[in-house]
Symmetry: C2
Subunit: 401 residues, 2 copies
Amino acid sequence: MNTAIHFAERIKESMKNFNYHIPTDIYFGKGKIRVLGDKITAIGQNILLVYGGGSIKKSGLYDQVIDELNRAGVTVSELPGVEPNPRIQSVRKGIEICRAKGIEGVLAVGGGSTIDCAKVIAAGACYEGDAWELVLDARKITKALPVASVLTLAATGSEMDGFAVISDMEKNEKWGTGNDITKPVFSILDPEYTFSVSKYQTACGTSDIMSHTFENYFNRVPGAYLQARMAEGILKTCIKYAPVAMEEPDNYEARANLMWASSLAINGLISYGEDAAWAVHPMEHELSAFYDITHGAGLALLTPYWMQYVLREETLPRFVEYGVNVWGIDPEQEDMAIARQAITKTREFFDSIGMPSHLSELDIDDTHFDVMAMKAAAGGLAYGFVPLDKQDVRRIYEMAL
Amino acid sequence: MNTAIHFAERIKESMKNFNYHIPTDIYFGKGKIRVLGDKITAIGQNILLVYGGGSIKKSGLYDQVIDELNRAGVTVSELPGVEPNPRIQSVRKGIEICRAKGIEGVLAVGGGSTIDCAKVIAAGACYEGDAWELVLDARKITKALPVASVLTLAATGSEMDGFAVISDMEKNEKWGTGNDITKPVFSILDPEYTFSVSKYQTACGTSDIMSHTFENYFNRVPGAYLQARMAEGILKTCIKYAPVAMEEPDNYEARANLMWASSLAINGLISYGEDAAWAVHPMEHELSAFYDITHGAGLALLTPYWMQYVLREETLPRFVEYGVNVWGIDPEQEDMAIARQAITKTREFFDSIGMPSHLSELDIDDTHFDVMAMKAAAGGLAYGFVPLDKQDVRRIYEMAL
């Protein structure tokens, strides 16, 4: 595949046509849980409450949510125990409850995994076949119960987009799905709920936000200039505030900026008008499908290797913009030097927040590289910033060993 | 008034609570007019078409719109002739048509003035009293017909926000109104419709976009870091592309970036979480209320004087960020030197795109300064980046003579 020609053909493109549709209302800030009682009936009178482990019970958030739902007089069923990489089995359980109880709307309280699970439950409740079909083919989602969320982790952006990633660990499969129909009707974002997020999870969440931004930023449409500048703003925000939030977990300013960055990184704002086909996410999804590692850690690990691999004459301009605008590298230097420094700074940043830089640290060896590379390459990598095939992906995994 | 203390008290504030609600769908790009026929029934079957002078007839856009409306099979009434600073008399005329014809939705085709007029018609049609009452008090807008727009000028951002500015030239009054209810249901943004915009109007439109951004950017909430970086992205976009669009009117990339910047500058994205009380707009509204000058030109003229006037120790940090991040000024210099250079560069930029820098160029003298200053100061200037009273405003007008 002559990637250079393929790239050059498209690099001249100006901003592309797009349809902007971000219907989710956001209630952002301290104490915003108090709007829940007033707003919940927007998704129905008979609610399925979806959440993860015990953390929302420990923090008191569960009680606040129940108080608000009682105040609104809605009927509540519960699906607790959604996993960090949410399983199709949890989705199926939720769908059963929806059908048995005549659920009208799904409220997720938690991080991205919980919200993702809620979305596919909401779609699956309106679908006759098995929900895994919806995971494999987002086009089959043509109807869904309304979803809302109360967010407790700044990471996936699921609170303001239509996407959901669901795993079937029995098959080592992890795929993204969703569309406009599964965008939350509203989400409540109180940065204080993230004060209790550990250093490690704060770092993983930030890496996820940055990766979403990178996936959009490194695209083939240089004419989407405004979007690129917005993306740089999100990256600078992550770089500034992740260390602050890790050092001072209750620093409201840091938590607020990270939380809002998580939503804006992936709600469409920085991808509309571009032609972004994600690269690092498909590669990472194979890591977590086979080894159940934390998504953000896998992204932080792979990203700088991917950057090194795709850096070339044709991609140089965007790397130079990245180095100068995000890292403040002196623009007077030679372009390739700026690009290399930018990649080094990216690695150093992820190191500084405790992210792994080698697969061996996660006890991952090359056992499954061939099948992982094959599956990742099937995930649209041929249309990425630099088109990649399974050999390319395998080489990137090898660099990361 | 001890502004220094007032400012210092508030400068420590972190990101503020906000409710994000941007329901407008945007159809952006070449040929997007072709969605109009499919989407128009979202606002009704019986439509009032609002437009300005003859330019949309000359360009062929009028015919395209009528074709689409016919294709949709909707009934159409027309209000042509909306003025550049839209008059309350046009609003009243539109309301009469709405009542006489049982209009269900208002479609504006034009620039911000036309869309502003359409919004207040839509609100006035649902209001028993005179529409001027809605202009004087936005809280009286509690119901409105749905509005949609086809945009032909990158400037006011009216295509994606709830605001409208209406004038009564008999009284020399010009006020802003509007709220969430008057946000368009959808807007069609085809940058090609702006190819025919003159150099001067392109410059005025860009100045308006930049001023909206400045009004939000220079606020007292430094903790809204992400929003500030987004604002800088919009400013860089304007600075890069206004000269290109003026030199090559059919440069799609330039027109597309300016058009999208116009929407994002004022739809809430960069103001949510802040505490922005606009300063230069109220001062400019008096200029156009008394002298009917082009809004953008007045903004470009006043902005650098306002910057000079409010630059002081307490406001220095934001000016330094502005200079370094937007203008690329060397951060190693002394802070006050960076701030002063940033203001000089702002003036030089507006000069370079042909904006006036002295009121005398517009045949404006000090005749009405006292009453203008008094009215501007009543427009919320006491809550601005630096609180200003009527003496302050008069001094800024005098600097601008």
